[in-house]
Symmetry: C2
Subunit: 576 residues, 2 copies
C-alpha cells in the first residue's frame, strides 16, 4: 500500500491520514524524524508544551526482509537536553508500521484538560484515539501483558512506563520485542514528551501486508551479501556471544572505563561484571546468551539474563548500563545490576542516564558508592513512586548535580556521558561535545577505531585526527539511522568492502532508485546540519559543544591524562 | 587611607592586599563587581567550581555621609542563571568596608578538601582566614548573635545561612543591619557561591576611620540638596509609611498582580495583605512602621513587623515577598507570610525566588494553593533540613518546574519573575527579557512610568515605547547601583530636577573630579555592555532574552491580554 503520514492532534483528539510530501519521500528513520521536527517544531518551545511534536518513523528498509532493519526512530525536542532528539529502538513496531504503510506518525498538541489518559491504535485505516484507564500507572511489563491479553499476542506495542507518565526527563519509550520484553528509545526523555501528550501506549494491528520492493531479485541478492558480511564479522560474533558487555574488560584494559563518578579509568571489580562472567552466569543458570530484539537480526547481541533460579531477570543487558551501575557506581554484583536494569525497563527509564545520576548522587552523599541495595531501594521506593528524590534522579545526572551542588557532573547538553572516558579515548570526547543530541556514544562511535581497530586504527590518547574520525562516523551514523538498520552493522561496513555496497543495493532495490555512496554521505551531512540548525535556532552555541570543566582539570589514571583538545579544534567539527 | 583590593584565595588559604588597578579606579558597587567578574572569571566556568570568583564592593559614595549610600554590591557568575550577577543590599557592611579603604574583596579558588569551613575577618591590615566550627549549620539570626557576642555588637557581618552551606541556587548572602537583622544580596544564588568557597561569614572590624572627601564643603551642600529631594518626594513618603508593600493595592488595581501562579492578574484577597493592612497591624501591635536598613537612609521603607504579642517577626518585609506568598500562592494570612519571610531570612534564601517556586509546586500538586501551613511546614521540615523536596524548592522556581513537569513556570534565564505581570505591564517584560541578570524588576523598574507616573507616563498595555523606557531605566539603574545608593532614590531622580545634579555633585566632591550627566549615562551603558558580553561569552544568545511561552499563549484577566512584543523589538534593546 502507498506510504502515508499519520497526524494525530491531541489538542482536539483528531487524526488524519496525509500523503507523504515530496520533500520527505527519500527519508526514513532519523532522517525523517529530524526533517519533520525541524520543519514543524518551534525550536524555542517548551519540550512538554503543546508546540512540541513527537514523531515516529520506521527506517527506509524496515518491514523488508533485509537483515537487521527493524529499528524504529522517534524524534522531538528533548526535555532533557533542549536539543533536537532522535532515539531508535528494536522491537517489532518498526516492521509492523512499515507494513501498514506508515512512513511517519506525527503526534502534536496536548489535551487542555490533563486529567485523562489516551491510547492510539494504528491499523490500515490510520490512527484511532481512545481514552485509557486500565493500564495507567502500570509498569511496562504488566502493560504489555494486559495489552497482549486484550489485543492478541501479536499486537505491536509502543508504551511509556510510570516515569513517562510522571514526565521525568530521563523517561524512555519502550517497544515490545518478539518475546514481549522491552527495547527502548532510550535517551533524551522522549517518554516524557509522550506523557505530556497524555498517551500511555500505541498499539499496532498485526498485518499480512508486505512492503513493496521494486526489484525483488536484486533485493534478495543484496540481502544475502549483506547478511553474510554481518555474520562473518568478528565483532558481530563477539557481540553475539558476550553481548555489548564484551566491552567491560576491553575498555577497562584501555584505561578509559569511567569509575567512581569519573574519578579514575579502571575498575578493580571489572571481572565481576564482565561479559565473560555474564556469559558464564547465563549459561550456568539456563538463560539465553543470544537473543534477537527484532526479527531478521543476524547479530543477536541481546540475551536473557536469568536469576539464580533460572527465571527471567532482564534482557538487552548492555555494556553501558552494566558499566554505569558497575564501575561508575562501584557495584560489583551483576545480579543487583540486572535487577536495577529490569526495574528501569519496567518504569521506562534510560538505563544510562539513571545509573550515571546515581553515581553523582553517591558523590553528593545521598548514598555510598557500591551500595547496590540502596540503589534498588531508591528505585523502588522513590523513583517508582515519584517522591522528590525519585524525581531528582528521574530527571537525570544534571538534575542530581544541581540538587546536591556537585561539580563533577558528567553531562554534555545535560545528557549523561556514557561508558567511555573522553580523557583516555579522545575521539569519543569529540562525539560527546559536538553531537546534536547531547553526550551519546552511538552518534559517532569512535571506540571502533580508537580501541577496536575497526575502520583503521587511531591512538586514543593522541589529539590528532579525532575530529575527522568523529565527523566521518557521525555522518555515516546519521545515514545508517535513516535506514532502520541497527548501528552494529557499522563494524562490518567499516571493515568489509562488500557490506556498504550491499546496503546501498538494498535501498536501491527497495525503491527502484540509483543511490551512490556519495548520496549516502550527503544524506548523513544533511541530517547533521538540519539537526544543528534546529539547535542553533533553539539558542545553542559552540559554548554548548564543550565537555564539563573537570575533564580539563582532573587527570585520569592510569594514563594521567586530561581532556586537552582545543575549543577551536572542536568547533572545526562543523567545517563540512 | 588609600583604597585597596583584598584578594582572598581559598585554594591555598592566602590573602593579599593589592593596589587598585588604574582601570578600576572610577568604579564602585555594581560597576566594579561586574568589571572584575568580566575581567577575571571564565564565562563558561562552573558557578560552584574553583574558577568562579565572588566579589564584594561598596559603592562610590559608601562610607560618606551621603544619604542612602550604604548599599553593598556582590557579584559572581550565578549558579541560578549562569549569567553574570550583581545583587546589592543595605546593612552596615558597605560603609564599614569603605571606611577601611576596601574598594573590593575578591574571593577566588576553593579548598580542595571540602570538609572544613572558614571565616574571613577584615580590618585595616586586610583579610584573615580562620577555620570556623561554632556557627556552622546555624541560621543567620543565631550566627549574627553569636558573632556579636564573640566580636562585639558593632562588628560588621556578611553571612550565609544553611541554604548557602547546602549550595542551594536560591541562597542569598545576608548583611547585618543596624539592629542585627538581615538585609540580603538576594537574587541569583550568590550565597551558594560563598558556600562553595567554604566561607560561612565575613566579619568586619569597626573603625573610626573616615572616607576621604576631596571637597567637604561642596559635599555638604550637595548632600543637603540631595537629601531634601529624597525626603520631599511623595513616593519616598509613601514608602516610608507603608513600605514597598504600598504596591499591593496599586498593582492589583492595575490588573497586573500575578495571581495563582500567573493565571490571573487580580487577587481577591489583596486587602488582607496590603500595605495599608500591614501598617495598621504593625501600629496596633507596637511594631515599627519605619526603620532604616542602613545609617543615613532618609526614606526608611523598612519596618519591623510584630507578631500578635508585639514581638519581632520580620523586617524588610517587601512587596515582592508578600505578593509571592500572597497573590501568587493565594495565602491571605499576613502573619503566615511574615513567618515565612522570617524563616527565609534565617535560612538565607531569596524571598522572591522561593515563594514563586512554591506557587509552581502548588501547580505541580505538591501542596494546595493557599496552604500557608503547608508552606511553613515544608520550609521548616524540608528546606531547612535539605531533604530532596527542600533542595528542589531551594533551587528555585525553574527547578520545581522541571521536577514536576510543570510548563507554566515564570522564569527568565531560570530566575523567577517577580510581582508585576509582563502581559499587563509591558515595560517590565522588556526588563525581564533583556536584563543581564535574569528576570529582575530592580534592573529597570518600568513600574515607575507604566503605573506610578514617575518620569512621565506610558500606558502599560501599549506596545509602543516600552523598549526605550526599559533601556533608559536599565542604563540609569546600572549607574545608580555603582554609587552605593539605594535604588529608591530613582523616584526623586526621575521627577525632581535638583536630585540627579546633586548626586553627581556628591560624587565629584567625594573624588575631586568633574563628572557630567553624560558621563553617568555612559557609565551605565558600559556596565550593561560589559555584563552582556560576559553572558554572550558564556553561551547566551538573544533566544535567552525571551519570556516563557505561556505569556504569549494565555491571556491574563482582567485585561485579557497576552505578551505581544515581538522578538525583533526585544532584540532592539541592545541597539545603543
Amino acid at each position: 500500500m502507498a506510504d502515508k503520514i499519520l497526524r494525530i492532534n491531541m489538542s482536539d483528539l483528531s487524526t488524519k491520514v496525509e500523503d507523504v510530501p515530496e520533500a520527505w519521500m527519500g527519508h526514513g528513520g532519523r532522517g525523517l524524524t529530524s526533517t519533520i521536527v525541524a520543519a514543524e517544531v518551534v525550536p524555542t518551545c517548551h519540550p512538554l508544551g503543546e508546540d512540541n511534536k513527537l514523531v515516529f518513523a520506521p527506517g527506509l528498509l524496515s518491514g523488508t526482509p533485509a537483515a537487521n532493519s527493524g529499528r524504529l526512530s522517534c524524534g522531538a525536542k528533548s526535555p532533557l537536553t533542549g536539543t533536537i532528539k532522535e532515539a531508535n529502538a528494536g522491537g517489532t513496531s518498526a516492521q509492523m508500521l512499515a507494513k501498514l504503510g506508515v512512513k511517519a506518525m506525527i503526534i502534536e498538541g496536548k489535551p487542555a484538560d490533563g486529567a485523562k489518559w489516551y491510547s492510539l491504535h494504528i491499523d490500515e485505516n490510520g490512527a484511532t484515539i481512545k481514552e485509557e484507564t486500565e493500564v495507567i500507572g502500570l509498569g511496562n511489563f504488566e502493560t504489555v501483558q494486559k495489552l497482549n491479553d486484550r489485543l492478541g499476542a501479536k499486537v505491536g506495542v509502543i508504551t511509556i512506563g510510570p516515569a513517562g507518565e510522571m514526565l521525568m526527563a530521563a523517561a524512555n519509550i519502550s517497544v515490545k520485542d518478539p518475546d514481549s520484553h522491552m527495547r527502548s528509545n532510550g535517551r533524551g526523555g522522549l517518554g516524557a514528551v509522550m506523557g505530556s501528550k497524555k498517551i500511555k501506549f500505541i498499539s499496532i494491528e498485526p498485518t499480512t501486508n508486505k512492503v513493496d520492493i521494486a526489484d525483488v531479485e536484486a533485493f534478495r541478492t543484496a540481502n544475502r551479501a549483506f547478511a553474510k558480511s554481518l555474520v562473518d564479522n568478528p565483532i558481530s560474533q563477539a557481540l553475539g556471544q558476550y553481548g555489548t558487555n564484551v566491552l567491560v574488560n576491553i575498555i577497562n584494559e584501555s584505561g578509559g572505563i569511567p569509575t567512581k563518578n569519573f574519578t579514575t579509568g579502571q575498575f578493580e571489580g571489572h571481572e565481576s561484571i564482565s561479559g565473560e562472567t555474564m556469559y558464564d552466569t547465563i549459561v550456568a543458570r539456563g538463560g539465553k546468551p543470544k537473543h534477537n530484539c527484532h526479527a531478521g537480526c543476524v547479530i543477536q547481541c541481546s540475551q536473557v539474563y536469568a536469576d539464580a533460579k533460572g527465571g527471567y531477570r532482564t534482557s538487552g543487558f548492555e555494556y553501558e548500563t552494566i558499566w554505569a551501575f558497575g564501575a561508575d557506581c562501584c557495584i560489583e554484583n551483576l545480579d543487583q545490576i540486572a535487577e536495577a536494569d529490569n526495574i528501569l525497563d519496567d518504569l521506562g527509564l534510560d538505563s544510562i542516564e539513571i545509573p550515571v545520576a546515581f553515581a553523582v548522587a553517591m558523590e553528593g552523599g545521598v548514598l555510598n558508592f557500591g551500595d547496590g541495595d540502596g540503589v534498588l531501594r531508591i528505585l523502588n521506593e522513590d523513583v517508582a513512586k515519584g517522591t522528590p528524590l525519585g524525581r531528582i534522579i528521574g530527571n537525570g545526572a544534571g538534575s542530581v548535580g544541581k540538587a546536591y551542588g556537585v561539580t563533577r557532573v558528567p553531562v554534555v547538553k545535560n545528557q549523561a556521558i556514557p561508558a567511555y572516558d573522553p580523557r583516555a579515548i579522545k575521539g569519543i570526547g569529540i562525539t560527546y561535545a559536538t553531537s546534536t543530541q547531547g553526550a551519546d556514544h552511538t552518534m559517532g562511535y569512535t571506540i571502533a577505531t580508537n580501541i577496536l581497530g575497526v575502520g583503521g586504527s587511531l591512538d586514543p590518547l593522541s589529539k590528532e585526527g579525532q575530529v575527522e574520525l568523529s565527523r566521518n562516523l557521525q555522518i555515516a551514523t546519521a545515514a545508517i539511522d535513516s535506514t532502520g538498520m541497527c548501528l552494529f552493522i557499522a563494524f562490518a561496513a567499516l571493515d568489509d568492502a562488500t557490506c556498504l555496497p550491499a546496503l546501498i543495493d538494498l535501498i536501491n532495490a527497495r525503491f527502484g532508485i540509483g543511490l551512490t555512496a556519495d548520496d549516502v554521505t550527503n544524506l548523513g551531512k544533511y541530517i547533521l546540519k538540519t539537526e544543528h540548525e534546529f539547535n542553533l535556532a533553539a539558542g545553542f552555541t559552540n559554548k554548548d559543544d564543550r565537555l564539563p570543566e573537570f575533564f580539563s582539570k582532573e587527570p585520569i589514571a592510569p594514563h594521567n591524562v586530561v581532556w586537552d583538545i582545543t575549543d577551536e579544534a572542536i568547533d572545526s567539527f562543523w567545517d563540512f
